[in-house]
Symmetry: none
Subunit: 146 residues, 2 copies
């Protein structure tokens, strides 16, 4: 499988590291992705991660604008200034930096959520709540008696 699917919650250890689920690492390996581009998501309080091609997409989008415009500069500020390259250690773990904690509210556990061509890092409670809300509101699931 070459898409990021499903979700899993892992613990952050004493050194601030967390294991990326092996299913996700398998997709990365399959795509030959060594370095991960991480950025603050535009919609959710989550960090989105994918290979460098995600950054390329964003840059292409910016390049359609006048480079001296305020909008182009502000977008670059978010895309470039708000994005980081990260790499996993030999065991497939990543360091949960303040950059990630501050934006997501993550403290001691991380929920990894597959998003097809990328995956996201969520605070477990926030993920649960947002998924439940989306299921109820956006898909109009009928209420069922308990």
């Amino acid at each position: 499988m070459n898409r990021f699917l499903s979700n899993a919650t892992n613990k952050i250890d004493a050194k601030g590291r967390v294991s990326v689920p092996s299913a996700f690492r398998a997709v990365l390996a399959r795509n030959g992705t060594e370095e991960l581009y991480a950025c603050q998501d535009f919609v959710f309080p989550a960090i989105s991660m994918a290979g460098p091609e995600m950054l390329d997409r964003f840059e292409k989008m910016i390049s359609t604008l006048d480079p001296f415009s305020e909008k182009a500069n502000r977008m670059s500020l978010v895309i470039h200034g708000g994005g980081v390259f990260m790499k996993l250690d030999a065991e497939g773990r990543l360091l949960v930096t303040d950059f990630i904690r501050d934006f997501t509210g993550i403290t001691d556990r991380v929920t990894f959520a597959g998003r097809g061509d990328h995956f996201q890092l969520w605070e477990p409670g926030a993920f649960e709540a947002m998924q439940a809300r989306s299921r109820a509101e956006d898909f109009r699931v009928a209420e069922r008696p308990t």
Copy 2:
């Protein structure tokens, strides 16, 4: 990686020096950049820094204008009159001059923000505010509970 990405905030020491993040220095070394061209940004209250090729780009742009036009003169005023060459010390630190402080409002800490082909020096609060605003206005990020 050959682009300036992510952001980091470092302290200014008693002698007015601040360490340039090693990730940025690595990009500079990769490009063989010894001297840095620094100028006041056109859009933000920040100092933009890159190798001399950034100055070349600006000069090329000006040369396309009528040299007697007011616009060309004003641009030169900013590019040349508002720009300086700086170099780092052996430990990769740069001196935060009044030129930088006055324009940015920087006092005791500096936020380095990657901008792809260059990077910027911001007053930490100003950077935070501008990025948050851009994320909200240009990317329509969802409000998140605090």
